[in-house]
Symmetry: C2
Subunit: 89 residues, 2 copies
Amino acid sequence: MKPGQADAFEAAAAQAVAGSRAETGVLHYDLWRETDGERRYVFNELYTDEAAIEAHRGSDHYKAFGMAARDLAAGRPEIHVLSAIDVAD
Amino acid sequence: MKPGQADAFEAAAAQAVAGSRAETGVLHYDLWRETDGERRYVFNELYTDEAAIEAHRGSDHYKAFGMAARDLAAGRPEIHVLSAIDVAD
């Protein structure tokens, strides 16, 4: 995160979180932040299937957040793809 | 993870997940696994407060899993402490 941009980032993220949770294919869409070190933000997202991921990426709130975050973030997002082994709904 | 130990690890983890979810101070206790690369396992845990974390660490299932995982894992766990910015219950 660029210095001083946390509040703006969280405001933009709140829009993305609300919009994403309303999507039928989204099971989890949560925002966390590291408490120390680089204090990176972490989105934890769970989708019903690949089609739901595609639908999410096509959504207005996803695109709007992508543009906003580009100006606020200090670097590109790091994406880790995980499968749910034992994840509660 | 040491080669060939994924099933044993997931069996031991299932015990820890079940026991942890039964703890009053545990809100989230989920197990994920990277789909590629090192294929690391990721526990995503959310507690009500510091006392709940301490209670968790004192539990029999936590200790039992720690011993089992030590023999199965290829290295020490990497712990990232995050605060919930916008996390659904």
